[in-house]
């Protein structure tokens, strides 16, 4: 019984982290039509900005998380505006550009901070115990923040004019522009929102796991898996898929072991894609 509940809690926690990452990833694809290979790089950068704020500038951790989100959002904004925008309609160029930018971020971090993992701990230690289940406080806090951030992202996309404009651009760019929505203004903002989410997730998650210059690679793989399962471009699909992946990963690893558990996850994703090739909530083609 303890195992079942523990695995469920771990699954929820993993799901919330994946959801926050996947939202940004799928947002960029849904609105701009770019598969952002630098997503893991922004996650990583968020972790290192938070680490630098705490360890070098002596700032409190919550301020560091905010700084990480803002710094990665600002960098994402500039990257989209100055580089990506120039080749936005050429999918191959955007792919290479984002992949290259990811390598630049990783190499830059190795040059500045070195290849070793620095000491970066979550400021709140301790555990919560109930009915024989032990949950680290840090995980609960991160879960709550991720959940709140998902809510804020949803509100932003579905309840504000900014979000409506973005959704209109993703539905049909030509019509949206004819209605006065300026893609050149909105695209960098959408990219900034997505990279800011990735940076914030990095700042929240790396202190409870570890911060290394290559921590972004598995994050990119996980984000990819989630958004493909959910349907590229679908926010609802990405969120549902994130929790599904988190739960499957947790239960499969607990009951089948780390090796077979990972295999089970991919087998289930394959089955879903066989039945629904566009993912859970995907469309056959983007409107924009």
């Amino acid at each position: 019984m303890v195992e079942i509940v523990s695995a469920g809690l771990i699954g929820l926690s993993l799901g919330a982290q994946y959801a926050l990452l996947a939202l940004g990833f799928t947002l960029i694809f849904g609105i701009i039509g770019v598969v952002n290979f630098a997503h893991g790089g922004f996650y990583l950068l968020g972790g290192y900005v938070a680490y630098a704020c705490v360890s070098m500038a002596g700032l409190p951790y919550p301020v560091a998380v905010l700084a990480a989100a803002l710094a990665t959002a600002a960098l994402g904004y500039l990257f989209e505006l100055l580089l990506l925008e120039r080749v936005i309609d050429d999918h191959l160029s955007t792919l290479i550009l984002t992949l290259g930018f990811s390598l630049v971020i990783t190499t830059g971090i190795v040059l500045v901070f070195g290849p070793d993992a620095p000491l970066f701990q979550f400021p709140v230690q301790g555990v919560v115990r109930f009915l024989g289940i032990i949950v680290p406080l840090a995980n609960i806090i991160v879960f709550a923040i991720c959940f709140a951030a998902i809510g804020v992202a949803y509100a932003l996309i579905y309840r504000t004019n900014f979000g409506r404009s973005l959704r209109a651009l993703s539905e049909d760019r030509a019509v949206a522009e004819a209605l006065g929505i300026r893609a050149r203004l909105m695209f960098p903002l959408a990219f900034a929102l997505a990279t800011g989410l990735a940076g914030m997730t990095g700042a929240l998650v790396t202190p409870i796991l570890s911060l290394t210059p290559h921590a972004g690679e598995p994050v990119l793989a996980a984000s990819f898996l989630v958004v493909i399962l959910g349907g590229l471009g679908s926010l609802g699909g990405a969120t549902l898929a994130a929790f599904l992946v988190g739960m499957i990963e947790a239960y499969a690893a607990v009951y089948l072991g780390g090796s077979k558990g990972a295999l089970m996850l991919f087998v289930l994703v394959l089955i879903v894609l066989l039945v629904r090739p566009t993912g859970l909530y995907g469309r056959t083609a983007r409107g924009a």
Binding site: S6, A7, P115, D116, A117, P136, H214, P218, A253, G258
Partner: protein, 389 residues
Amino acid sequence: MQTKAAKRIAVSLIALTVAGGAQACEFKIGAAGPLSGAATQWGMAIKGAAEFVAAEANQRGGLKVGGETCKLQVVSIDTKYTAEGAAAAANNFASLGVKFILGPMGSPEVTGMKPLANRNKMIMFSDSYARDAIGPRWPLTFHMGPGPAAWGDPIVKLAKEKFGIKSALTIAPNDQAGTDVAEVAAEVYKNNGVTTRLEYYQRGTTNFAPIVTRIISANPDVVDTVSTPPGDAGILIKQLRQAGYQGVIGRLGGPGTEEILRIAGGKDVVRNFYWFEPVYIDEKVRKLQQDYRSLLKAEPPENNFFYLFVAGGRALTQAIEKAGTHKDAEKVAEALRVLQVSDPNLGEGKWIGQKTYGIRQELSLPFGIGLIENGEHKPDLRVEAPTDE
């Protein structure tokens, strides 16, 4: 007067030409290891060792090879801790005319590099715990640092004595690098009467929380991280402690204590921990750090594999001098096989491997056992160079 001046100029020119000719001899040593990913520390240790050995030889004026005095250059390539990365590195080395390679490190890397090194007549001085790290089929592949079959026994005996362990769980990645060493380590525990369970995980895992739940339900006395990369081992231990695991942590595998402690949260978090130190660190060995700083004007690599590869690199340069060639790897291999290894910092070495691999090309040196007891870092224990004769 003019004739004298002309003679002086001619003599100077000849001297310069001779000196120039002596200086012109230069050859490359390859450093192959993971310079990215969770095993970066090990690759940095190899790279640092190769650079140190080259700088040391160059400071003496160069290696005396046949009638020449040769300078050493280091070419380092990231092998990415994968077989394909190591194979690509081997091809690169061959195209650059490299004949001697320090490294690589992991079992997949060694598996990927061995055939190419052999085919291109390159000596490879690696360290991995692969079951077939060396063998008669690869006469140019040498090995330093024997695997847990050779040194695991005294460590497990010490763990039993200190912590009274009766059950162990080994955890490792589910690839060749993990499974090869985990099975041997499990065998060492079993031979000492400790019941053992093997767990594997997918390499690239960053969150071990589900695996930790599984480990806690098995509740072993010791969780041995075997040759799990230090970055992964640090997260695993951190999450084990967060989830309430009270047992001992062991490591019958590659070192990385500093990084493990840093990621896990320090000695107080890790609490009770024993591990294999490939080199027994005393004042003589520690002096290598100062020598590195003064020669290379940089901080030495953090990982203790650095010392081991310095000893291996020095043995290799001695064999090159004895063989009198830096072009014929087979001749150098012959000289290396019979070399009496006596490292000024690490001590006497022995060539072993006949029993385990069917070829006596494994360099064994004195090693250490590291211990943290109740959060207190105890001095390492020295164990003489293991033999398999």
